[in-house]
Every structure is written in structure tokens, then in C-alpha cells.
């Protein structure tokens, strides 16, 4: 089963490498959205520092969201997904593999770039560190929950926007805990509780998501 997981991750990483534009564009989207806000409003440093956690977390979340449909849509359109669903290999392992790759490709680069953007918004020291930590712990949950939405909307007519609508409300706790941690750290408060909550969300979704996603995939192919 581990061997199969590795095989899936390998193949999807290979696919991602063949189209580097994908990973790149998610990243650029993140940067651009995060830079839109100062443009659209007040570039005052104090105000910016105030909205920094919110803006950065929301941008990360939207970037993650935008890349969700890609998890399965390609395999669905070309028929690979049919093969996967009727294969003797366990579907939930395959799903997990695809989620891992989604995170590696869409979320990880963004976590790595976050400190730079944080600096631009005037974050420093502990809050900056907490920003990166909260993104690191929060984004896997986003990928996991997102996969459910992506699978549910396969073959339905809503397309990319429908995924967003299904998934965004479910993202709210992660957003609150993640951005909350940064705000707390800005205010000099303890952030441990937030971190624990983010981990708890992750574990819960790790249990639920592959299972729910597999069911949704089977439904989509009926």
C-alpha cells in the first residue's frame, strides 16, 4: 500500500514537473492577490500591519482554492480516473497520494514564499514565524477538504466556481485559527492553543477526507 502511494505520488509529481507553469502560476496568483490590497486601499503601514494576517491568509486560501479543480479534472476528462476506480488498488490510497501532490505543488511553495510577503506588510520576528507555521499546519487541511469538493463537482456542470462555493464555508475554521494565531502573536499573546487546533483540524480531515473523496469519485463516474 505504501508502495502504491509512492507510485501515485511519483506519477503526479512527474505530471506536475511536465507543466511547471501550474505550480508557478499558483504562486504568482498568491503574490499578486496579496499585492492588490495595498493598491486598492490605504497603503498606510499601520493599517497594513493590521490587515496583514487576514490578507495573507485569505490570499493563500484563494490560491489553494483555485488549484483545486485540477486535482481530478484531468484524470476525469481523459478516462484515467475510470481505470483508477475499477483498479484492484485501494482508491483511498490513490486519493491520498493525489492530495499529497496537490499540497506539495500548490501549497508548499506558497508557504515558503510567505515570509517575503509578510515582510512587505511589515511583519517581523515572532508574528512572521507564526504566519509561516500556521500556513504550514493549515494548508494540508485545505488540500484535504478541498479534494472532497473537487471530487463532488466532477462531471457536474458548475465547474471551478462550484468547488469554491462548496469548500469555502468548510475552510472557515482553518482560516480563523490560522489568521487568529498571527493576530494573537502580534498582540503578544500565547499561540499554542491555535496551533493545537490547527493540528486537530488536520487530523480530523485526514481521517474523513480520503474516505469521503473516494465515495464522491465513485459517484462521479456512475
Amino acid at each position: 500500500m505504501i508502495a502504491f502511494l509512492i507510485e501515485v505520488v511519483r506519477r503526479d509529481l512527474l505530471l506536475a514537473v511536465r507543466r511547471p507553469a501550474d505550480a508557478g502560476t499558483v504562486l504568482i496568483f498568491f503574490v499578486v492577490v496579496a499585492s492588490l490590497f495595498p493598491l486598492a486601499g490605504n497603503p498606510d503601514p499601520v493599517v497594513l500591519g493590521n490587515i496583514a494576517p487576514g490578507v495573507l491568509w485569505v490570499s493563500a486560501l484563494l490560491a489553494c482554492l483555485l488549484s483545486l479543480p485540477r486535482i481530478f479534472s484531468g484524470d476525469y476528462a481523459d478516462g484515467s480516473l475510470e481505470q483508477m476506480v475499477i483498479a484492484p488498488q485501494p482508491l483511498s490510497v490513490l486519493v491520498l497520494g493525489k492530495i499529497v501532490v496537490h499540497w506539495l505543488i500548490s501549497a508548499l511553495p506558497l508557504v515558503l514564499l510567505a515570509p517575503v510577503l509578510g515582510l512587505q506588510y511589515g511583519l517581523q520576528g515572532e508574528p512572521l514565524f507564526v504566519l509561516v507555521l500556521s500556513l504550514l499546519l493549515g494548508t494540508p487541511t485545505l488540500s484535504l477538504i478541498g479534494a472532497i469538493g473537487a471530487a463532488l463537482t466532477l462531471g457536474s456542470r458548475g465547474g471551478g466556481v462550484l468547488v469554491s462555493v462548496l469548500v469555502l464555508p468548510l475552510y472557515i475554521p482553518v482560516l480563523i485559527f490560522g489568521a487568529g494565531a498571527v493576530v494573537a502573536s502580534q498582540a503578544g499573546l500565547e499561540v499554542q492553543a491555535y496551533v493545537m487546533l490547527l493540528v486537530a483540524c488536520f487530523l480530523l480531515s485526514l481521517v474523513v477526507a480520503p474516505w469521503a473523496t473516494s465515495i464522491a469519485l465513485r459517484i462521479a463516474l456512475e
Partner: protein, 247 residues
Amino acid sequence: MSAINWFKYAAPQTFYPLAGRLIPWLYVIATLLALAGIYISFVIAPTDFQQGEAYRIIFVHVPAAWMSMVIYLAMAFWAAIGLVFNTRLSSMMAQALAPTGALFTLLALVTGSLWGRPTWGTWWVWDARLTSELILLFLYIGFIALRASIDSPQRADRATAVLAIVGAVNVPIIYFSVRWWNTLHQGASINMSSAPKMAVTMLTGMLIMALASWVYSIAVTFVRVRCIILERERHAGWVRQLEEVKS
């Protein structure tokens, strides 16, 4: 066509006439309760010394808010039953509950706003309860949109069931996270728990109105389930034999 074995849809077949017989009674009961509730709201309940007459909105607002949550749970419950036991009627119940639930959520939001304006001086604050109610509306809309976007009703049943279950797992998490987020910021907004202690008449009025909403929701859901049955089982022999079709 009659050779398709429709026996496994026996449930809708027996439910349809049963609901048909119950609906008029449910409507009557709901109306009577609502009339009693309105009487209490406007005639018996005294003027509030802080908020004046504006507080009377509570008699629609709170029942609507309650119903919005109860219906979501009911919906998730039926959807789950439908997914696990593959019973069509349960999925239809879930499908039928969603629009009513969404409407009640909308009503809670709008009447809440109409209440907030005179009491807080603003249409909206990002209070924990208000915010969770807004998110609940999004969850409803997601459920309805997902169903609307899938052509095959059977597939839609199962897909929306997965969503409803995942949503139901999330509802408590959302609720508490929003609460917590809100207490962190405190102060900025008026807290709803600062609403006045309720007099017994008010509570009675609210409860009766809530009961009316319950009965109304059941009635409307039954009507809607019957429509759904007619739409989805229009090829079944027994549907063709119904009196309303024959006449």
C-alpha cells in the same frame, strides 16, 4: 416499462398518499399556532422598557433562527440515511428540506438585520452568532447548487449526501471557531447575549411561534416531497394510476 421492478420504491408509493392526507391538517395546525403566536406577540406581550416595540421582531427572528439549524441537521440526517441504506425517500426528504431551511436562514438574517438597525444602530455586525448564521446560509446554498448541477437525480442524491455529512461534521467546528474568534476581538460589537431577560409571556410567544414554524416546515416539506416523487417517479405505474393524474 411496467416490467421494471418498482417494488423497491414502495416507500414513496406508500408515503405519497399518507402525506397527502396529512398536509391539510398540518397547514391548519400551523395557521392556528401562528395566529395564537401573533396574538401573544402583539396583544399580550408587554412593551419592552429598553427596546420599545422593536423587540417584537424576536417572535419571528428567533423561531426562524432555530428552524434554520434544526432543518440543517434533519437534512443531513436524511441524506446520510439515504446514502447508507439506499432508500430513495430519505434522499428526497433531504432534497425537500433544503430550500425551506435556506429560506428560514435568510429570514433569520434579514429579520435580525431589521432588528439590529434600531437596537444597535447598524444593519450588520460581525458577531459570532450572526456570522455562523451567514455561513450556514452558504452551506445550504452549496447543497442546493451541487444538486442543481448534477443531472442524474440518483447521483445527485449521493453526492449531496456526502456534502451534507461533511458539512454536518463541520457545523460544530465552525460554530465554536467563530465564537472563539469573536470573543478574541470582543468589544467592537454588541453581544447578542446582552439581550434582555425574557418575560414568561415572551418566551411562550416565541415557543408557540417556533412550534408553528415546525409544523409549517413539515407541511411544506411534505408538499415538496410529493412534487419530487411525481417528478422523479413519473414512469412508475402507480404514479400513472393516481387520481390527480387520471382526472
